[in-house]
């Protein structure tokens, strides 16, 4: 049985990388008495994946960890056990069971808070044309126009700064929201990034 555990990663946990989160989640699972399915081999560990890795310095209210259980208790019992074992900053919101794997994540919604000398309209205008940035991947580094990838843009001025809400591709074609900061360098500085929704 696959378990989809939805959680928030907030506060100081934004200083923890994805790799470190994986280890923390493994330990969290081991602190529960849940019937977790382990991998075989010399170094047995819970089989654990995440819907979409979250970069260091970013927060989220919509993360999903996927692991497997044999003969699981009711969903609310699992949720209770996970909550009891969770460290500060990691809050479980929901547990659902499924016979099938989680499909690939297609897109993610972000709230990007920026400080800028410009107004929201000014920043909006700055992002209207093509947005060439130097994009790094494992294979190569190239200049890419990220503008077409940034969808459903909404601009708002708040007390804390200018807030851009947008939807970016995830999964195999993922765009890290920090590239928007790279493009706006000199015009705006990103203060915080919050992931608010995943789309499958």
């Amino acid at each position: 049985m696959y378990v989809f555990a939805e959680f928030e990663k907030r506060g100081i946990l934004r200083y923890i990388s994805h790799l470190d989160l994986q280890r923390a989640m493994t330990r969290l699972l081991l602190r529960t008495d849940l019937p977790i399915v382990f991998s075989e081999g010399f170094n047995p560990h819970p089989k654990l994946t995440f819907a979409q890795p979250l970069s260091i310095f970013q927060e989220s209210v919509c993360e999903i960890a996927v692991f497997r259980m044999d003969g699981p208790p009711p969903e609310e019992k699992t949720l209770e056990a996970l909550r009891a074992a969770a460290p500060e900053g990691l809050t479980f919101r929901k547990v659902t069971y499924s016979e099938r794997k989680l499909p690939e994540c297609r897109a993610a919604k972000y709230e990007i808070l920026m400080s800028s000398a410009l107004t929201a309209d000014g920043l909006k205008a700055a992002m209207e044309g093509p947005m060439p940035v130097l994009k790094k991947s494992k294979a190569k580094t190239e200049t890419v126009d990220i503008s077409p990838m940034i969808k459903e843009r909404e601009w708002r001025e708040t007390e804390d700064g200018i807030l851009l809400t947008c939807v970016l591709p995830a999964g195999s074609k993922t765009l890290n929201p920090s590239y928007i900061g790279a493009f706006l360098e000199g015009k705006a500085a990103i203060r915080s990034i919050l992931r608010t929704e995943l789309y499958f």
Partner: protein, 617 residues
């Protein structure tokens, strides 16, 4: 940390997780509701510091005190250091984020000599004057302890109080004394005076050294009436009733020892003559399997760790090891928790036990013959024969292993070129042993890791000189030439690092100026290859008028007053001298359980020494 005040700095560092605390089970008290605030510092990176069990124990001991909150700080990595400096932010404690200068006491654990510059650099980054004499009542008290405080003198000018020996009972006593003195409105001097009269505490400002014209220490006395001439180390007699941190911070970052560390015993029954730990931690005292099992269960349940490491100086010397292992395996196996047994002696290597232990996880196997020939192993009192080494390796190979790691030392007293070549010969014999039996389709790998001997205080070799740098490097090259098999992977330590270690290990107060100067020049993280700078150190010694060879490469005379002689570790000078004489004759001394060698550590116990009598008899 409960707020975001350092977000701007943390954005620009490689591993911000090092500087934010907030790990599962990290302690928290409202700073406004406690009367005494302590910051316990580890003068190296977070990843090293979080791997230290002693620090976890001591923090736990102090946080169990009402009205006391003990936080943590680690040496900021140079990228964070520049951020602190650039933003003009003083070094802070991870729990509250408050600067170290705001604390009542700042404590440092001294695990190795090459962390001394980090101690001073952490003070500097906190805006706390390095020299104790420059710190008035507005600054925190600086306390230090740990293995290096058995020769505290190189740091004597900087530290207010040293804690000598085990701290579980001593540190809370010091904290209580501090609160009492504050309640009475006494000045710092009076607190220090009273601290010097508590057993196990050394207040350097209350002692004055004198030096003869030859540069040697000629006298070392208290400079105030009532201050004891000798400082006796503290021990915990009953380890089954001492605090153990079953619920201590679980790091997010990948730290060096990321597992449950289960301390099985303290002290050592062996008596290797180069080994400081083997002498200063005497007498042998252990915990019961029942207690250890309970601690291990609680620790695993609280942390979610999937590995337990049984720690001690020489785990196979625990008389009830098979019983302990069986107890642990009864629940660790079903839970898929692995056990690791580092520090096994070759002569007590049980492959059967290892096979049992390895049923969950496979881990590497390391032996420490220390010397390549029987003659030299007898000189250092290693008490193992070549037969035993080969037999243990054979068992390991038969048990299905094909890689082994062997530790040796270069530069041990009386070492000849034959001894150096003996390392290569022994390694070759082990390779040949592997191939003496047909083992299907596998190849052997023997790692030979050779460090340089550093003479340490409170060992029978404390009077000995370290080989000169040139000699150590010559021996390293000699050995390289002797190793011919491609199955042997030869690794050796940078001799220059070991030389600096020797200077500070056997140093006196006059080295303080060099440390301060090094830190002024930006030197720190000496234990890290990327920041170690031998030439710079030599310049610093030169500027300060210090001859490093005086400390590292000089044979001391047996009647010379040593900078650490005022410390009483229980083991007597007479015993150390006797052991030294025996070493020159190639005579060995049996382990404490076979025959008491009268080292003197029994005087630390209220009853008979537990290594030969009592419950483990």
């Amino acid at each position: 940390m409960r707020d975001d005040r350092y977000a701007e700095l943390l954005k620009n560092v490689e591993k911000p997780g090092r500087y934010v605390g907030g790990e599962l089970h990290s302690d928290w008290k409202d700073p406004s509701e406690v009367d005494t605030r302590i910051c316990f510092c580890f003068p190296d990176s977070y990843e090293i510091g979080m791997s230290n069990l002693g620090m976890r124990i001591l923090i736990g001991c102090m946080n169990r005190m009402d009205g006391v909150f003990c936080e943590r700080s680690y040496a900021p990595w140079p990228d964070m250091e520049s951020q602190l400096v650039e933003h003009n932010v003083p070094l802070y404690a991870l729990e509250s984020g408050d600067p170290l200068g705001d604390f009542d006491m700042v404590m440092f654990t001294l695990q190795y000599e090459l962390c001394y510059t980090n101690v001073l650099n952490m003070l500097k980054l906190s805006g706390i004057p390095m020299y104790a004499s420059e710190r008035g009542s507005g600054y925190p008290l600086i306390v230090a302890g740990g293995p290096c405080s058995y020769n505290p003198e190189p740091l004597a000018d900087f530290v207010d109080v040293f804690s000598i020996g085990e701290g579980e009972e001593a540190l809370p006593e010091l904290v209580e004394l501090y609160r009492q003195c504050r309640k009475e409105g006494l000045p710092k001097e009076e607190f220090l005076y009273r601290a010097s009269r508590l057993e196990g505490f050394y207040v350097p400002s209350l002692y004055t050294p004198e030096y003869g014209e030859d540069g040697k220490l000629s006298a070392f006395r208290p400079n105030r009436e009532g201050v004891p001439a000798k400082v006796r180390k503290r021990i915990i007699e009953d380890l089954d009733h001492v605090y153990f941190p079953e619920s201590s911070p679980v790091p997010y970052l990948d730290v060096v020892h990321d597992r449950v560390m289960l301390e099985v015993f303290r002290g050592c029954i062996r008596g290797c003559r180069f080994c400081q730990a083997g002498m200063v931690y005497r007498p042998y005292r252990d915990k019961s399997p029942e207690n250890l099992d309970a601690c291990a269960r609680a620790s695993v349940a609280n942390t979610g760790y999937s590995e337990i490491s049984l720690t001690s100086l020489s785990i196979s010397d625990y008389p009830r090891l098979p019983e302990l292992i069986d107890k642990l395996l009864s629940w660790t196996e079903p839970k898929r928790v692995g056990l690791s047994l580092p520090s096994q002696r070759i002569d007590a290597f049980y492959e059967e036990l290892m096979t049992k232990v390895m049923s969950v996880r496979k881990s590497g196997l390391t032996f420490a013959p220390e010397a390549g020939t029987q003659r030299l192993r007898d000189v250092i009192n290693k008490n193992i024969t070549e037969e035993e080494i080969l037999s243990a390796c054979g068992k390991a190979f038969d048990g299905g292993r094909n890689t082994l790691k062997l530790y040796f030392m270069n530069g041990l007293p009386t070492e000849t070129d034959e001894d150096v070549k003996g390392i290569a010969l022994l390694a070759q014999k082990i390779v040949d042993l592997f191939y003496s039996v047909k083992r299907s389709g596998r190849s052997v790998g023997v790692t030979v890791s050779v460090s340089c001997f550093v003479p340490k205080p409170f060992t029978p070799f404390q009077w000995d000189a370290q080989d000169s740098l040139e000699e150590l490097e010559r021996k390293q090259m000699l050995l390289r030439g002797e190793i011919r098999s491609r199955k042997i992977d030869y690794k050796y330590h940078d001799a220059r690092v070991s030389r600096l270690e020797a200077v500070f290990a056997k140093g006196d107060r006059r080295l303080g100026e060099a440390l301060a100067e090094a830190v002024r020049r930006g030197q720190r993280f000496d234990a890290w290859d990327e920041y170690f700078d031998y030439d710079r150190w030599m310049k610093i010694f030169d500027v300060c008028g210090i001859d490093p060879a005086f400390y590292a490469n000089r044979q001391l005379s047996e009647d010379e007053l040593l900078p650490w002689d005022f410390i009483d570790i229980g083991v007597t000078r007479q015993f150390l001298l006797h052991e030294r004489e025996k070493s020159r004759r190639g005579e060995t001394t049996p382990d404490c359980r076979t025959k008491c060698s009268g080292c003197g550590a029994v005087t630390l116990c209220s009853g008979p020494c537990s290594c030969t009598e009592g419950r483990n008899a």
